[in-house]
């Protein structure tokens, strides 16, 4: 049963590892939840499911596995058998084997036998461990001391019934990229350089030098090393970008939190870059693009984010901007070229998958900027261009 349960959980997409599964076996063997499915439900969950986003999957897996057996759930015999002849889900790695040995199965088996004997004598009233209605802190038969039942599970309902409630449905998150992954990728975006500015005290050198100086303190300073990457993030908002809002927000918040850039700026645009770029998503507060360009030079890297999906005239015609009250004198494509010419280490990230990059405007933009998918792989590739260690190949075209 135990191995089956392990595979069952994995079958529902839960990333349960052997290490975690062995913890469960150990907890069971020292007396947790032998015959109470409610306790087993929580025990298995707190040891094997590490994010509330997976609780719903766990509930579904649990309900389908224990459907029908909830009223006579007792794993003592099976557990005793397992402890005598441990069966494992698959071949163990070195680390996992070490974990299994650390379990000391013989001792656990003896302890468990003792517990069983004790249980037989005292029935379900013992206070050593979890039974149904004992004094131990485990188990769900008893009433909550305050008379309030918190967090569901109980009221005469079985653990399977509780699991089928799917209380955690709203916590699911089928996410593609999370902030942490983006943050880790962005971390590679650095170029260390000796920086001007106030020098830092070099403790190691100071100690060495003071020791050589017969204990008289000799302070040693050195110029700090700083990342010299300056990043300008330009994000397309509104319209066809709405489905990607969450993804862009994550990229934005990861970049914003990354405090290792020498300078970091962000602006918003709609479909294409024209005379003004905006500091707010609703595009009220603008700044002339020409002013921004003046601040930039080749030490800056520009990262544009958008689906690059628009009518060709929005890109190639003067007066083609999508907002009808806005008549642009310079074409969108020319504005993009200005950015590229000023900051060669620039890229375009596209949240749409590469296989549907077939709009004419996408082809045009790819002649200006190298385009990458807004995925971990795409971002990692793109970062090499931003760092300047991979040439901007679109320049040649």
């Amino acid at each position: 049963m135990f191995v089956d349960f392990f595979y069952h959980l994995r079958g529902y997409g839960l990333k349960v590892t052997i290490t975690e599964w062995l913890s469960l076996m150990r907890a069971l063997a020292i007396g947790y939840s032998r015959a109470d499915l409610h306790v087993f439900y929580n025990l298995a969950r707190c040891l094997m499911v590490k994010t509330e986003a997976d609780f719903d999957n766990y509930d579904r897996a649990f309900a389908s596995f224990f459907m029908g057996v909830e009223n006579h759930f007792d794993i003592s015999d099976e557990l005793l058998e397992w402890l005598s002849k441990p069966e494992l889900p698959r071949e163990l790695t070195e680390e996992e084997r070490a974990k299994l040995e650390a379990l000391d199965l013989d001792e656990l088996r003896e302890r468990f036998k003792e517990l069983l004997d004790e249980q037989k004598e005292r029935h379900d009233g013992g206070n050593r461990w979890i039974g149904t209605g004992g004094m131990s802190p485990f188990g769900h038969g008893g009433e909550h001391p305050t008379g309030i039942r918190i967090g569901g599970s109980g009221g005469g309902r079985s653990a399977v019934q509780v699991a089928t409630d799917r209380r955690f449905r709203n916590l699911r998150s089928d996410r593609i990229l999370d902030t942490r992954q983006i943050g880790l990728a962005l971390r590679r975006l650095r170029k260390l350089d000796k920086d001007e500015g106030p020098e830092e005290l070099d403790i190691d050198e100071t100690i060495d030098s003071s020791a050589r100086n017969a204990g008289e303190i000799d302070l040693v300073f050195r110029p700090p090393k700083r990342n010299r990457i300056k990043l300008l993030l330009l994000i397309d908002v509104g319209g066809s970008m709405d489905p990607h809002t969450l993804l862009c927000e994550r990229l934005f918040s990861a970049a914003h939190k990354a405090n290792h850039f020498k300078k970091f700026e962000f602006k918003f645009f709609h479909n294409c870059v024209y005379e003004n770029l905006y500091t707010d998503i609703s595009r009220w507060k603008g700044e002339p693009t020409s002013e921004i360009l003046k601040r930039l030079d080749h030490t800056w890297s520009v990262c544009l984010v958008g689906d690059a999906w628009m009518s060709p005239y929005e890109l190639t015609h003067t007066g083609g901007a999508i907002d009808y009250y806005h008549s642009n004198q310079v074409t969108g494509l020319d504005w993009l070229r200005k950015f590229r010419d000023r900051c060669p280490n620039s890229i375009w990230l596209n949240p749409e998958p590469r296989r549907i990059w077939n709009a004419p405007t996408i082809h045009l933009i790819r002649q200006v900027f190298p385009m990458f998918e807004l995925t971990i792989d795409g971002l990692t590739e793109g970062i090499d261009v931003l760092r300047g260690i991979r040439p901007n190949r679109a320049l040649a075209a």
């Binding site: 990333k15 590892t17 290490t19 975690e20 913890s23 150990r26 907890a27 020292i30 947790y32 409610h38 306790v39 929580n42 025990l43 969950r45 707190c46 040891l47 499911v49 590490k50 994010t51 509330e52 609780f55 050593r128 461990w129 131990s136 802190p137 485990f138 769900h140 909550h144 001391p145 305050t146 309030i148 039942r149 918190i150 967090g151 599970s153 109980g154 209380r167 916590l171 999370d178 902030t179 942490r180 992954q181 943050g183 880790l184 971390r187 403790i203 100071t206 100690i207 003071s210 204990g215 008289e216 303190i217």
Partner: protein, 276 residues
């Protein structure tokens, strides 16, 4: 291995599931990772465990600049250098310049203690990984003195996270995980009565109805938490707002919603609701 049995305290009502998670973590000597929205009592849990099991509580508040090493110990070189200069102290004993952090102290303690690592997600992304070895083995090495300290009594470790950042898988594998769900209406009533003991029943019901309606709106990004609800009730009572107008006007909404977009979304939903 003894069974510690955490049962909650008079002021901290622990759900059965939470009690089980705490006790499993103590018995298996694995850190308990507690996650949940702000205001669900994550930090207070560690205090309740310490009080309930009569153990000392050590707290390590994590900041964005926190380093794993600081939790173990810091070698105060500057102090030693300074002492060396004036020659009025014996500086050959390095151990007096080793300052132990909360993690180090919890390993050195002469009885079992509770260690709270509060808001681990505040720190750098690599921070949890740097703690893996120490939390696994519950031991550490002091380079400066060449001494290896092994915990005689493995502390009960409670780690809280607001889920601002994702935590690394290797770290999660070693933890017992518990998610504290947001309190439901009945629990919330009890919480509010602690802060507003004499609140009118009618007002309370109306406020709770509005509050949970608002939290369920899908367009809201930053859901209001318990502390904001408590503030809202204080504002409503001080403003002498009638129960009916809470329903019709949603007064002092700014206390609950801090983001302009959310505020607009609520007002729009409220108007829709009144038309229907």
């Amino acid at each position: 291995m003894s069974f510690h049995s955490f049962t909650g305290t008079d002021t901290y009502l622990a759900a059965p599931e939470l009690r089980d998670s705490v006790n499993v973590s103590a018995a298996l000597e694995k850190p308990l990772l507690v996650r949940g929205e702000p205001g669900t009592g994550k930090t207070v849990l560690a205090e309740a465990i310490a009080e309930n099991l009569v153990m000392e509580l050590l707290t390590w508040n994590i900041k964005s600049t926190s380093k794993a090493q600081e939790g173990l110990y810091v070698y105060d070189t500057v102090q030693r250098l300074n002492d060396a200069r004036f020659g009025d102290k014996d500086i050959t004993d390095i151990s007096q310049y080793i300052k132990y952090g909360p993690l180090g102290q919890s390993f050195l303690a002469q009885q079992r203690v509770v260690l709270l690592i509060d808001e681990i997600d505040k720190a750098d992304m690599e921070f949890p990984n740097d703690l893996l070895h120490e939390l696994d083995r519950m031991s550490f090495f002091v380079n400066e003195t060449g001494r290896h300290h092994v915990a005689k009594f493995r502390p009960i470790v409670v780690i809280t996270s607001n889920n601002e950042k994702e935590l690394p898988d290797a770290f999660l594998r070693r933890c017992v995980f518990h998610y504290i769900a947001f309190p439901d209406k009945a629990e919330m009533e009890n919480i509010i009565r602690v802060h507003h003991p004499d609140v009118e029943a009618e007002l309370l019901q109306q406020v709770l109805l509005r509050f949970y309606w608002l939290r369920d709106l899908p367009e809201i990004r930053k859901k209001p938490s318990t502390s904001e609800l408590i503030d809202w009730i204080a504002a409503l009572r001080r403003g002498g707002v009638s129960t009916e107008s809470i329903e019709s006007e949603l007064p002092f909404l700014g206390v609950l919603m801090k983001r302009e977009n959310d505020l607009e979304a609520v007002m729009a939903a409220h108007r829709r609701g009144r038309v229907n």
